[in-house]
Symmetry: C2
Subunit: 337 residues, 2 copies
């Protein structure tokens, strides 16, 4: 049996290009005793995967050149040699950018498709949702009446941050790129205001946050960070989740090559806290609590989500490249046939 796979063909120089990936077919063994064959249905594309393409010191090992690109995915059991799983069962795992996996049964996380659509295990009920929840619990802690600003507000993490912030009683302002995303942020997610980062950031922030900002959720870095930073109120918190605008250069410069961050003088005077986190450090231990809370919000209609679904494994590289450029609209997924 042949398995289609996307390999890391070479390490990107700056922004990834299609030639950095290679589609191959490799033979797949039958599942041995205690193993399960999984047919992947949805792959999750996430910004952290850009980091895995570089051979740089980080919190996780890089993908080897010639290795399968890493990702979480949901799939259905196609053949099982373990009593715990039957054909057709939905499962979640770190399956990678490929069509099938053979895995030990105990490494698979079962998914109940009656509870929520299986793809939500990659989004609002999965790693991006948990990331939003953990960062607000541990660092952001928005309080009723406070102003929370979230960048990449229509993205996988951002859309959950905004809505959880609203549920906590904060005034939430979402930053997104373009009129369509801003309309989604305002009308579907129901945030208090939307800001288009392609417009005049300063003027829009002045209008949307006249009293300053208590919590900023950082997904992007670069020019958005520079505009937000001076607007913190005393005791402001900056939740450092990602800086996607700066991922495509080894040195972490933004698109214009700027290396600098904000002057940290106000951190003392305003008693600011700037804190980074990685959800895998402590997030999964709290997954049960998160899931219960989030399912409650979903069932009550308090949380909406949007997915951007690319079709077919061969289109994963283009979807990934587009996501790094902000061309996705919602949680980026690849649906396999």
């Amino acid at each position: 049996m042949m398995n289609p796979q996307i390999l890391l063909a070479r390490r990107p120089q700056g922004a990834p290009v299609p030639e950095d990936f290679r589609l191959v077919e490799t033979p797949l063994p039958d599942p041995g005793q205690g193993e399960v064959l999984v047919r992947h249905r949805f792959l999750s594309l996430d910004p952290y995967q850009r980091g895995r393409m570089d051979d740089a010191k980080s919190y996780a090992a890089p993908v080897a050149v010639g290795g399968v690109m890493e990702c979480q995915a949901v799939g259905q059991v196609a053949a099982s040699s373990d009593a715990r799983f039957r054909e057709g069962d939905w499962v979640l795992g770190g399956f990678g950018w490929q069509g099938f996996s053979v895995r030990p049964a105990q490494s698979l996380i079962p998914i109940d498709p009656q509870e929520a659509p299986p793809s939500t295990a990659l989004g609002v009920l999965g790693m991006p949702g948990l990331t939003a929840w953990v960062g607000l619990e541990d660092i952001g802690e928005p309080k009723p009446g406070e102003t929370l600003v979230v960048s990449a507000a229509s993205g996988a993490v951002g859309q959950v941050v905004g809505q959880l912030g609203k549920i906590r009683g904060a005034r939430v302002v979402g930053i997104a790129g373009g009129a369509e995303k801003c309309a989604f942020v305002k009308d579907v997610l129901g945030l208090h205001a939307a800001i288009d980062h392609r417009g005049d950031l300063d003027a829009q922030l002045d209008a949307a946050c006249p009293d300053g900002i208590d919590v900023y959720w950082e997904n992007v870095g670069g020019a958005v960070q520079a505009a937000v930073f001076p607007r913190f109120r005393d005791f402001g918190r900056m939740v450092m989740c990602g800086m996607i605008a700066q991922y495509n250069t080894a040195a972490g410069a933004d698109a214009k090559g700027a290396m600098a961050g904000p002057n940290l003088g106000p951190v003392v005077r305003k008693r600011l806290r700037i804190q980074g986190f990685i959800v895998s450090d402590s997030g999964w231990k709290r997954y049960g609590r998160f899931r219960t809370e989030m399912l409650g919000h979903i069932k009550a209609g308090r949380v909406q989500w949007r997915e951007d679904v690319a079709k077919g494994l061969a289109n994963a590289p283009a979807a990934f490249i587009g996501m790094l450029e902000g061309r996705n609209f919602g949680k980026q997924i690849v649906a396999l046939d």
Copy 2:
């Protein structure tokens, strides 16, 4: 009775100059019922007083032009109309840059000169010592075996930070300006290494912190911050106490006019925490606990301190200007006759 006072003559443009201050003599009333006349003996000069000279939004109101420069001071009761105080008693208060004060008795904090020299109420047992203790308790939290780097390590706050870090079991590296201060940091304070910021910072940091930095206590900003920041280990903490290198420009630029801070990309990847604090927010509530602990260290000979004593009120402006340039060696005090 005439009272010598140093007034803020005008707001400084950049670094303060002598003409920004004015020495005057004004009449002082006799103490009324419940009031005490205090003859000031030691004035405390501290970097935060530079901020009070600007008419900028901050955590405390500025000194008015024509107003007495603010400071804490210790003095002795010269006349009392309150049963709680007798002539000769030592007291602490926010007395300002002047020779005498008439204050309500209940606003004065008694000092026991048998316990420690009265001037320590302005240093190791006072606001600077409490600042060091609070910042390590709340933000730095150095653990045994961790590497703590403190800038301005021979200064009022820095000398306490370094020694408390050592007592907590950290490997402490102090940064100071010049061979004499570095010798004090190493030999008198007993830190593990001293770095001269006038030399090659990168090479010295490489040698003193081969495995990186867990906690950085920021007193200075500018070039020292830029050199330290890339060396943080995962989960590093940056205690933002002050940025004296950047106080003399309204915009917070460093001496070379640079406005930029570090690129914050590593904050996510390394899960760093950068946090500012002001001791007056919550520090004084814990003063009793701090004092008990610090007195224990002093009596056991575990904590040393050094004062830089200028003589006479007229020399306060020059001492203050020198302190902002790093010319003081230890806690800056002005002794009055």
